[in-house]
Structures are given as structure tokens and as C-alpha cells.
Symmetry: C2
Subunit: 349 residues, 2 copies
């Protein structure tokens, strides 16, 4: 198993999104020490593949980057590494590196993918860069994304979309508001409608997904004595894999319909598709068996959706508590690393 020290070394390396050069070089160097791997570095992404003749190829992927913050205070505290990136996802990366460089025969071919820029806009993701420049490196029968899942297989992922809602009115002096129409007052009805949303739950492949709807920003106003003629909010919707992006946008437009006029505008700003659990795949079912725990739905979006777009069934499984990702108290324990190493090692061999 990978020790806490290996994880701490990775946590202490500079790796904020867009600054993965050094950690990518470190990872590539360690992987190249294993002569049974073909290692390629594409930008700040590193892919290492076994070169045997087994008929099945498993892809194990993790991102190198972290969100911004102070990783310099990271430390071993008791049986845990504490610090930014500990569970999201340097712990899983250190296990991946240890298994990839171990001198053990596999019963499957394995592709190890270490990619850049996962924590920022999807368009800048290193995984998408690989998909564009070298899709051959990502080919495989099934994929595991080593995001922190607390040792439980978290299947599929929610889709996510962001829409801008622009509500119109007309200006007037605030002493004579009846000469105009207050766009912020109108926006109040939109906010109230969203606040009143009851999450929809739905079961896909035996896994229960819960949708969410949240306003993430709001703005509007002209000056202190003017009835504002425009107000604006941004809404984030997390949707289950039984809906496409188009389905989810249509549902959201319908949900807001009673609060909007013809002059108001709903714009789709950003979106990412959901991914189904793919629990019909034998390798993923075997992973669930090895984990010894009941599969559950992934809350949030992950790159399992990117693999699904490539036609590769994928799931989330990694070391560390997902609720501690990006949290001031982010950590990963020796037990979590050992358990992840045990299950992943058994799965690939």
C-alpha cells in the first residue's frame, strides 16, 4: 500500500489548475521506472499503459490539480494526511502510482490516466485535451474515476446546467413607481419559485438520484432613486441521468414559466451531461462486489460523464470522504488508502 508520506509528498507539490507541470513530470518519471508501461506525456497529462495481450483493458483515471488554497501547511496528523488536495485527490493518486509501478502480473490490461485542469471549466479539462489530441490513449472497456467516494462505489453522475434568467421592467422615479415596472420586484417571484422547489428523486439502474435547483447569483439596479428596468439571476440545476441536457433545460423553462413574461430571457450558459450508473457492466458489478458496500449515486458531476460520452462505461471509486473535498479540514487516512489499494489492486489483477 501507499503510505501517508507518499500522499503528503503529492499534496505538497504545486498543482493548482493550470500549474501542473512539475507534478506531471514527477508522475511521468515514476511511471517510466516500470518497463512494462508505455508512458506518454501530452501537455500536463500523463498516460501509462500496460502492453500485454489480455482482452480487457481497464482505465483508471485521476486528476492532478487542486482548487486554489494553501497546500503549504499540509502535514501528517496521527493516521491521516491533512491538507488541501489530500482526499481530492492526491490520496487516490498515490495509490494509483504505487499499483502502476508494482511488479505484479495483471489479468487485465490497465491504462493509468493522470490529467490536468479538472477543477476549472470543463472546456479546459486535460481529459478533454487527451480526447481531442490522442483519443487512442483513452480507449478501454471500462473506466474507474478515482474521485473520493469513501470506499463506496458511487455510480454515474448528476448532470449540471447553469442558466441566466433576465427579467425586464421599465424605469421610473422611485417617488412615482407606478410610471414604471420594477424588474427586481418581478425577480422576487422567480427566486420564490426556485426556493419552493421540491427535489425530484428518481431511480436509474437501481440507483437513486436526487435533483437540485439553486440560485447562485443575483444582480440588478440602476441608482438609489430609479425603479430598475432589468434584473438578473443565475440558476444551477443538478439533474439525474434519466434526463438529457435538453430535457433538463425544457423542464426548467417550464418550471419558471408562470413567473416569466415574453420579454424575459432564459439563456443556457453552461452544461454538462449526466451519466447513467452502467450497473449492467460486469467489471463495474465486480468492483461493487470487491468494495463490499452497496452502490450509491454520485452526487455532483464528474468525468464519468466524459467516459460515457466516449462509449466507455465508468464509475467513481476512490479514497477519502467526498464531503471533505475543498473543505478546510480536508484529509485522507491510512485506512482509507489501504482499503482503496486493496480493492483497486484486486480489481485490476
Amino acid at each position: 500500500m501507499s503510505g501517508l508520506d507518499d500522499t503528503l509528498a503529492l499534496v505538497l507539490m504545486e498543482s493548482v489548475s493550470g500549474h501542473e507541470d512539475a507534478i506531471a513530470e514527477y508522475v511521468a518519471t515514476r511511471l517510466r521506472a516500470n518497463p512494462r508501461l508505455e508512458v506518454e506525456r501530452i501537455g500536463d497529462n500523463v498516460v501509462a499503459r500496460t502492453t500485454g495481450l489480455h482482452k480487457t483493458r481497464l482505465v483508471v483515471a485521476g486528476h492532478l490539480d487542486t482548487v486554489p488554497g494553501d497546500a503549504g501547511t499540509a502535514r501528517v496528523e496521527g493516521d491521516a494526511v491533512v491538507g488541501l488536495g489530500a482526499c481530492d485527490m492526491k490520496g487516490s493518486l498515490s495509490v494509483m502510482l504505487e499499483l502502476a509501478t508494482r511488479d505484479v502480473a495483471h489479468s487485465n490490461e490497465v491504462t493509468w490516466v493522470f490529467y490536468a485542469r479538472e477543477e476549472i471549466a470543463r472546456a479546459q479539462s486535460g481529459l478533454r485535451e487527451l480526447l481531442e489530441l490522442r483519443p487512442d490513449l483513452l480507449a478501454g472497456d471500462v473506466a474507474l474515476l478515482a474521485e473520493p467516494t469513501g470506499g463506496t462505489v458511487e455510480a454515474g453522475c448528476q448532470g449540471s446546467l447553469r442558466v441566466s434568467v433576465t427579467v425586464r421592467g421599465s424605469r421610473a422615479h422611485t417617488a412615482r413607481p407606478y410610471m414604471g415596472r420594477n424588474a427586481i420586484h418581478r425577480l422576487g417571484a422567480v427566486l420564490a419559485r426556485i426556493a419552493a422547489y421540491t427535489p425530484r428523486t428518481t431511480v436509474v439502474d437501481g440507483v437513486t438520484f436526487t435533483e437540485q435547483l439553486q440560485v447562485v447569483s443575483v444582480d440588478g439596479g440602476v441608482s438609489g432613486n430609479v425603479v430598475p428596468d432589468v434584473a438578473h439571476c443565475v440558476v444551477n440545476h443538478r439533474f439525474a441521468p434519466d434526463r438529457t441536457v435538453g430535457d433538463a433545460v425544457d423542464w426548467l423553462r417550464g418550471y419558471l414559466e408562470t413567473t416569466l413574461d415574453e420579454t424575459d430571457v432564459v439563456d443556457l450558459d453552461d452544461w454538462a451531461p449526466a451519466a447513467a450508473p452502467a450497473m449492467d457492466n460486469e467489471h463495474l458489478r465486480s468492483l461493487v462486489g470487491l468494495s463490499g458496500r452497496t452502490v450509491r449515486a454520485k452526487v455532483g458531476w464528474t468525468d464519468v460523464a466524459t467516459f460515457q460520452e466516449m462509449g466507455i462505461p465508468a464509475t467513481n471509486f476512490g479514497a477519502g470522504n467526498p464531503l471533505l473535498a475543498h473543505h478546510p479540514n480536508e484529509r485522507v487516512t491510512a485506512d482509507e488508502l489501504a482499503e482503496f489499494s486493496r480493492v483497486l489492486g484486486a480489481w485490476i489483477s
Copy 2:
């Protein structure tokens, strides 16, 4: 009477708030041509007083400045001056100048006040500057503020206050909003409460005032996938002269109470008191009689409140349609100027 050409000349002079030097000098020069006036320039304010021994002193005041905009396109169009500042309040100023420099005996002493910076923050007003530096120049028994009122005496004025409402929540990932509390969703309830406000009307000194409550700006949001922990709005309340600023703030806090928590904050940002109609004053009643029209409440705040604070009963009466102030189609007609000149001339003499 003052002609359209005199008004146009004033409209074409640079006079955006804070840039009244040239127009103040022009006004002072014209007033000094009348040997019966004592003229003083204090900053960009000009005060001219008759020096007779009549027992009553009437104060006639108007502001020299305009809001920003393009006054360079001003012109005479048919029987009207069209352009920024035509009715607010270069038309009234031209009549004041004409009456002040006319060689006619009055039966009252008259103080003509031309002041700077009325269209910006109250703390910067030239009238307050005079009040601080030379209160003796503003002394009088009654005051008329020549804001545009369409030839009708508009009595008193509404008070105005602006409060900031800050609503708290707690952050969470938008995929797990139940781990936090969305402050923008909470703000929706505040906006809805304000949008549902029914204006209070009240009769003071026989004049009906209608209050107003408007949200003038809103902001909040952290990032596209974070449940926001704080949201904010600014509310403008216009209140009748039967309430003090303190009364109005108390009422507003009470009105919003059901939508706010202990951690939320309501801050008073800015305020201006209301002014009662002072219709018990014989000079103001006589002005109403001369106008030949029924007195009505002033909608909006004016410096009649400043005179009232000095203990001087005051009212609004001037040339031009108040609804056209700051309007792209701002204008004042020859008939409006003539009518204002007739009533004001009769009042002072």
C-alpha cells in the same frame, strides 16, 4: 415676462452639478445690475436681497445645476425650449432673474437664492453650504422653491430613506444544497414582501400623500456551484410628512420582520425628512389663491424640507411639467413661463 431666448441661454450654459461656476457668475452679474439688491456669491451660490423695510421677507429659491446629459442640443421648438434642464429648472430661473432685476416696487422684501449641487447627494447641496456658512442670508418668513410643478402649488414633500438589507445563509456545494442555506433564496422572500406592498395614503393639512416602497438594487453570489451565504438589497422608501425619519425606519423594519432572521442586518444608508404642507401659513395660502388651482402633495423630496428644518414654512411652485424633469423630452413652454411669472410677480408685490 422672461422669453424663451433667456431660458435657452441658461439651458445652454454648463451647469452639471459641481460645475456651476460660469452660470453662478452670469447670474450674479445680472443681479448686480439692479442697485436695489444686495448680491453675495458664496461658493457657487448666489443670494440677492432687497434692502427695504417691509416687515415680511419672502425667499424664492432655485437650483442652478442639472443632472448630467447633453444640453448642447437644446433649442427653441415652436413655443417651447426643449433640452436638458429646460423645466428642471432653467425656465423658473429665467423668470426669477427677470423679476429680480425688474424695476418694480414690492410690498414685501424678497430674497432670491440661486444655489448649486441640488441634483446630487444632499450633504453636498449648495443650500446646505449656505445654511452652514451664512444662515443669515436665508432668513425669511416663508419660502418658495421654484421646482417645476406645472403651475400648481405642490405642498410639502415626501421624506426618503434608503436601507440596505443583508440576508445571511451558509455556503455549500450546489450538488448538496441541504448542507447549507441559500441566502438568495431567503432574499426572494424579502423581495416578494416588498413587491406586495400596498401604498399607504394619508392626509396632512388637507393634502393627500401617497407613500412608496421600492427595491432599487440587489446583489449576491459566490460562484457557479456554490450555495451563496450572503445576499443584499437596497430599498428606497418614500414616506409622508406625518412620519419622522425614525418613524419611517421603524415601520420598514416592522414590515420586513417576518422575512428576516436575527443574523440579518437592516442598515439605514441615507435619509431625508419629509416636510408638511404648512397650509396654515397665510402667504402660502395666498400663493395657492393666485395660482387659481387646487393645492396637491409634492411627489418626491425637495428642499422645502430644508427650509422647514430652518423653521421657515415653504412650498413648491414653478414652471414646467414635473414629469418631464430628467426626461429625454424635457421642455418648458412660453405659456408656462408667462403663467409662473404672473403668479410669482403678483405674490411678491
